[in-house]
Symmetry: C2
Subunit: 114 residues, 2 copies
DNA sequence: AAAAAATGCAACCAATGGGTTGCATCAATC
DNA sequence: GATTGATGCAACCCATTGGTTGCATTTTTT
């Protein structure tokens, strides 16, 4: 994500799918597992949830599409790893939103005190 | 949201719908409008987007359900306002995730250096 | 070479989501 | 009190999503 500026429509179009990917409890669980449990395979991951392996695969695909995880084949297995960059993006988007809010509050305060 | 601790399943169940509400470009646009443009009515808001008023109403309902906006009737109109608290929650969830990641990196580093 | 393990692919299903249109209701104004 | 404005409610539509099952493919391992 390029620098500062405000939340343009283009930004929102980038931010939306990112947050959408985070908007599912199972996917958040997968991120936590990959964060703290290190790189893992699908079968290993699906052991931790009560849905099928294929369901987990789909969730991982969604996360990969959003850039939150990546995978690499290694022999007969595929290893999934957490990708911190995009989480930083999400963080910045939220930061910008609350900054816009603060600026608006500042304007309001200045107006009232006039 | 209560204090520190890690990302328990209960937390994830709370976080998911919050991020899901943020996971739509129109809804993010609405939040930006309400942040910087101050409290507004549905009809006024829908003027800024190319979807129907009813579509905007639905989006606002989703945001309200997630606690990101609130509304109050005022005569014949309903005024919608941004609610910053829940945004802070989202921020903290992301913060915790990246903290878990940092901890894992720390462990890895310690292991390698042994 | 055969069996076992890990993944990939595809079809299918029910539910949800984002959108629409049409009409009813409620409040303000002339 | 009749008209205009702002919302509310409901039905409906199509695409997407989250889930399933069954089978094919590719590597190991014995």
């Amino acid at each position: 994500m390029s620098r500062a500026e405000a939340l343009s429509p283009a930004r929102l179009k980038d931010a939306a799918p990112l947050f959408a990917a985070l908007g599912d409890a199972t996917r958040l669980g997968l991120l936590v597992s990959l964060c703290s449990g290190g790189p893992l395979t699908v079968t290993r991951l699906s052991g931790q949830f009560d849905v099928s392996r294929q369901a987990i695969t789909k969730h991982l695909d969604v996360l990969a599409e959003a850039g939150l995880v990546k995978s690499a084949r290694h022999g007969r297995e595929r290893i999934w790893t957490f990708e911190p960059k995009r989480l930083e993006d999400a963080h910045q988007y939220l930061e910008r939103l609350s900054r816009e809010w603060d600026v608006a509050l500042g304007r309001l305060k200045a107006f009232v005190e006039t």
